[in-house]
């Protein structure tokens, strides 16, 4: 029987998010869109509280039977906790940057923070899944909120297109995933991840192999790894920029953590079977992400390809199928999230003379002379994304490659290092455009986030929120980040160990 007291205590952060989502929904229903800002702040507070509720489990590296709730459906272990910390932090960031962007077009509505909140709840359930059903329900809760968020700008055709595209392709991926899960269930006789592992200890039957391939294909769509990445640039370009920043950070962390959990906890005894899939997806993501970005003129599309490229490096960590590989993957994620968030916040702060968002790469030309602080921050972020040594992004790539070498995946590591050079080209191109190109005549008036149609006070406050996020993100990925390597590595090691406890 289920011990409800323990179970409910273990899902306290999720309960908090769900209840505050419901209460805020009522506030939004009666307060209308005037309450949007208050609801945003309340949602951020709820996410922050959940962050602190999760912290002890990560800090203590907790895992094992007493962190399992609802008879194995839910695991509140350190691995889930580590992912949740990143998810909640990224969700708060998505709430902070949204109001000023959406208010410009008059589309800031009280439902935005609520959808972000429910999306974060779905992600928290996803990463804690101890059962295929929990996994799917969490994934759907997250995806459904994400589809609506992508189409949030109703007056913008591109946003509607992004939402529809995301919805149709996401539904297809969910179908593939469900098909794989039903095959896995049929051949394993259980939906619990631990049970699947037990049933596969003495070999993988052909049917279970099909199940594994379909499950991984469905999850590869969610993390936008290469054969299933086509939706990413379109959705990232069309969705409102704060939503894109959200998509590139929190759901990506959740989906990667989920993939790692399924691969290691459920299919861990058959690592050789899925390693070739993950290795292929990793290398293909790195190469396609790097080559696809070169021709892009839109910064959001470019960052979308950059996220595909980064997923490739993250998957190298997963391909090791070792505790050190998973730990490296978590470290990479922890560096990737502030990096990508800072990149998108910088894009959000680019406005042309009318205060409209500037999204083309050419809009950046001569930025170093017009807004030097922004240009320098963006330069640090770009160098970090490229993995150029003094920046912290280098450390992420380094630990991933080190884990791959330790796991005897020398060829994979060598190919990864070689192909990461391709990616460096377009990151450096952006820096070149910012620092060495003349400001183009039409875009000479790239101005601050504070101008435009906003009233002064609101613009000031949001300008500060943007600057705060940008500076924090930049500091985290700058060489100062190396001060945290020991601490971060420790946490990630313990989180990864909790995943391998069952092995």
């Amino acid at each position: 029987m289920i011990d409800y007291e323990t179970s409910l205590r273990l899902i306290a952060p999720e309960i908090l998010l769900a209840v505050s989502g419901l209460v805020l929904l009522l506030v939004a229903a009666w307060g209308g869109d005037r309450a949007a800002r208050a609801v945003s702040i309340a949602a951020a507070v709820a996410l922050g509280t959940a962050f602190f509720l999760v912290m002890p489990s990560v800090d203590g590296g907790l895992s094992g039977p007493d962190r399992i709730a609802f008879a194995g459906l839910f695991r509140a272990d350190a691995f889930a906790g580590f992912a949740k910390l990143m998810i909640f932090a990224a969700s708060i960031a998505a709430l902070m940057v949204a109001p000023s962007f959406l208010e410009r077009t008059g589309s800031m509505r009280a439902e935005y923070p609520i959808l972000v909140l429910f999306s974060a709840l779905g992600m928290a359930i996803m990463v804690s899944a101890g059962d295929l059903m929990t996994l799917y329900i969490g994934l759907e809760l997250q995806s459904l909120s994400a589809y609506v968020l992508a189409a949030f700008l109703r007056t913008d055709g591109r946003s509607a297109e992004a939402g529809l595209k995301y919805f149709v392709l996401g539904a297809l991926a969910s179908g593939i995933l469900l098909f794989g899960m039903s095959l896995t269930y049929g051949f394993a006789g259980t939906t619990s991840l631990a049970g699947i592992r037990v049933s596969m200890v003495d070999g993988l039957s052909t049917g279970a192999m099909f199940g594994l391939v379909f499950v991984l294909a469905g999850l590869a769509f969610k993390i936008s790894a290469v054969p299933f990445h086509m939706w990413t640039p379109d959705v990232y370009e069309g969705a409102p920029t704060p939503v894109t920043a959200f998509f590139a950070s929190a759901p990506k962390v959740a989906a990667v953590a989920l993939t790692a959990r399924v691969a290691i906890e459920a299919f861990g005894s058959q690592a050789d079977a899925w390693r070739q899939i993950v290795v292929f997806a990793a290398l293909a993501s790195i190469i396609v992400g790097a080559l696809g970005a070169i021709g892009q003129t839109n910064i959001k599309r470019l960052l979308a390809y950059s996220s595909i490229n980064n997923v490739g490096f993250i998957l190298i960590g997963l391909a090791c199928a070792t505790a050190s590989g998973t730990s490296a993957m978590l470290v990479y994620l922890a560096i990737y999230v502030p990096m990508t968030l800072a990149g998108f916040v910088a894009v959000l702060m680019l406005r042309d003379a009318n205060g409209d968002p500037a999204e083309r790469v050419t809009d950046l030309s001569g930025l170093s002379r017009i807004r030097p602080a922004l240009a320098w921050c963006l330069m640090i972020v770009m160098f970090s994304l490229a993995g150029i040594p003094p920046m912290f992004g280098f450390w992420g790539k380094f630990v991933v490659f080190r884990a791959a070498v330790e796991a005897d995946l020398l060829v994979l590591a060598a190919l990864g290092v070689a192909t990461s050079v391709i990616g460096a080209f377009y990151y450096i191109k952006i820096v070149k455009v910012m620092f060495f190109d003349e400001p183009a005549p039409g875009t000479a008036a790239v101005t601050g986030a504070g101008t435009g149609t906003n009233t002064g006070a609101i613009a000031m406050r949001d300008g500060r929120a943007h600057w705060a996020l940008l500076v924090i993100g930049t500091l985290l990925v700058s060489p100062f980040g190396f001060l945290a390597t020991g601490w971060l590595g420790n946490l990630a090691d313990r989180a990864a160990a909790s995943l391998f406890l069952v092995a």
């Binding site: 769900a18 509505r109 959808l115 329900i137 949030f152 051949f187 259980t190």
Partner: protein
């Protein structure tokens, strides 16, 4: 004996009404045939001892889904002749897909019969309670062991509802006069009507 008879009756009716759903010229008739198919499907479910699914079929599919279909068919202006033209154009493709699915079924079942596919043995953690109807069994699992998932599924539906409203609802701020039912009901006949006695040839001022 009576079971076999009932099975063949329901099965034949399901197939016949399914075929008529596709073939009927009038879309409203199609929906009605679909309802007949659902009812007979429910009969089949009772035969295999799944009375809960039988009830779901009647309540959810007949009661809600079929009525929804009927609404869609009757309220939306769909050109069915054009749809049917598309049906004929895509007919070869449909047949090809059906053939592939049939081949897969034959292969799968053949391999299973030959013993090439070993299905997993159920863990038995959701085993039925002895001596209880399957409604009580499902209830015990849904509100006991899988309570967490049940509540989360509820949240998904809530998000779907929020999404539908966010994407489609518009505040109407048109200058057009709008009906205020409360005011309309609270209207007082003494204030609304006036008796006047106009002089001949002068008319009346309102």
């Amino acid at each position: 004996m009576i079971q076999a008879f009932a099975f063949y009756l329901f099965a034949a009716l399901v197939i016949a009404s399914g075929a008529l759903t596709v073939l009927a010229r009038n879309p409203v008739h199609s929906v009605l045939w679909l309802i007949v198919a659902f009812f007979n499907g429910a009969g089949l479910m009772v035969l295999v001892g799944a009375e809960f699914i039988a009830m779901l079929l009647v309540i959810v599919y007949v009661g809600a889904v079929a009525v929804l279909f009927l609404f869609v068919v009757m309220m939306l202006d769909i050109d069915f002749a054009e749809l049917r033209a598309g049906f004929i154009r895509n007919f070869p493709l449909g047949i090809a897909i059906a053939a592939v699915l049939l081949a897969e079924l034959v292969l799968g079942i053949g391999a299973y019969r030959a013993g090439a596919i070993g299905l997993g043995t159920p863990m038995g953690d959701a085993a039925p309670l002895l001596g209880e109807s399957n409604i009580e069994n499902i209830g015990a699992l849904l509100y006991g062991r899988y309570l967490f998932l049940f509540e989360c599924a509820g949240l998904i539906l809530l998000v779907a509802m929020i999404g539908a409203i966010v994407l489609t609802h518009r505040e109407r701020k048109s200058p057009r006069a709008q009906q205020n039912i409360a005011r309309q009901i609270a209207r007082n006949p003494n204030e609304a009507t006036v008796n006047a006695r106009p002089e001949v040839g002068r008319g009346i001022e309102l």
